[in-house]
Symmetry: none
Subunit: 156 residues, 4 copies
Amino acid sequence: MIRMTRLIPFLLTGLVMAMAADLPSRKYLNLAAIKTMVAAAEQEAQKRNLQVTICIVDDSGNLLFLQKADGAGLNTLQFAQRKARYAAMYGRPSKAAADQLKGGDLGVLAYPDAFPNQGGVPIKVDGKTIGAIACSGAKSEEDEAISQVAVDALLK
Amino acid sequence: MIRMTRLIPFLLTGLVMAMAADLPSRKYLNLAAIKTMVAAAEQEAQKRNLQVTICIVDDSGNLLFLQKADGAGLNTLQFAQRKARYAAMYGRPSKAAADQLKGGDLGVLAYPDAFPNQGGVPIKVDGKTIGAIACSGAKSEEDEAISQVAVDALLK
Amino acid sequence: MIRMTRLIPFLLTGLVMAMAADLPSRKYLNLAAIKTMVAAAEQEAQKRNLQVTICIVDDSGNLLFLQKADGAGLNTLQFAQRKARYAAMYGRPSKAAADQLKGGDLGVLAYPDAFPNQGGVPIKVDGKTIGAIACSGAKSEEDEAISQVAVDALLK
Amino acid sequence: MIRMTRLIPFLLTGLVMAMAADLPSRKYLNLAAIKTMVAAAEQEAQKRNLQVTICIVDDSGNLLFLQKADGAGLNTLQFAQRKARYAAMYGRPSKAAADQLKGGDLGVLAYPDAFPNQGGVPIKVDGKTIGAIACSGAKSEEDEAISQVAVDALLK
């Protein structure tokens, strides 16, 4: 039997009216913040004598910044973007997807925006993901280390 | 040479003539049914203190309803839609695809509309799938439990 | 001749250092705001005796809410999403794209996320687009009128 | 019957042997050149009080650099990339495609990588396209003017 009338009043009762003044707000990455991170990443890469593509996205995975280093291969363009996108959409380092796959969870190959390669890290403020940064071109651990230095330069 | 003229009369003879009055009918999800399910899912999520994106599709996988909870990540938008679509197209919970993959059946990664992640359940009336609902944002077992509560609210 | 060394010092000098505390913030649509808009749109559609699919997206075009009315065709699912996405990405009503096309600007057919059909309107707070709403299923002017009533219910 | 063995010796004879030392070379954009152009574009945009997304691609249209200005809409991300890609692949300003379309050549809507919007310009050295730069966010003429200033800073 299909009963549907009983629950509708509950739905209406539960409705919370909201006005513009009540809208919540959240921080977002501006260009000054991006330049701070890029400068830190460039410096760290230089210190390590590495050449990496640097990519920064917003909380929806939109591309805010990308810069290919001379010595970074063309494949790094997609790697950096995919790692950053994963970190933004899932709110965790892209290493998590790499670990899942190593652990035998093949679902990672099918999940939307999943990318099983270390190097992307989320940028979190007050527990909320406001974007992500990823590097690509060096060993994955080094890619991630450089990304993390960039995040720390902004947040610490 | 291939003779095909001989077979055409036979084909016509074999045709069963049908009129509109004889057409079969099937139940389908209307907005009242959808609101019943959504209200039940919202209530169950609240009881469990979880934030999930809720998605309801018809028997063809067409999107009839989607609602993102504030605390649900943006990746839940695709997860909920894919899980619901699988359940509708395959007529079984998306957990079946997750189990297949865990069991070593990699075909799941290639089958159309297959999505190996628990949380979507078909809505069946008289043994026929009329749509599906999926939740995403909590643990997969919880996503499915909330979806099931919503189906039960409609059908039991 | 290629001169590149001369401008690099300028770039570094122009670098503004930013810390997390300096990050700007912006309002965003939460579920309470969405329910306010949906309730207003449903009420307006009922008043006009129309059946429309309602779609609400965030500032990046991510789908936050979708609801198909019983009498709305399946084509409205894509129309509503595309109109809302245009309004969010371009920060103006999707009528603008329709007008451009009517005026002979065929570029609209090639521009990313452009959709030349009235009915989607941006949701702007303090001059910034925080999302968009679109209706589909009635005449385009009516679709837009319902969308506008929903925005007004939130912002006025 | 088709005799092909007879032609193979001829084919081999016709081969011109080449060694690495004989390979031609072409100039390409390195990061120092990119930073020169970006600094010039930023300076020009600031002078004009405009906020634009800047995008630089190589001769194959590969993304070498992208930077979104705070005030540039999210639609500029795709516009800038598409305009730069057109300019690189076709070796002419994206205004050419816009003019073609205005002139009634609808083929522009179908040609690969064609994008009918002013603002992207090729970077040519010794008559060869080595990449392209595009801006997006202001009026198309202004987008192009800023792009041109960036190219001039590198080449003049």
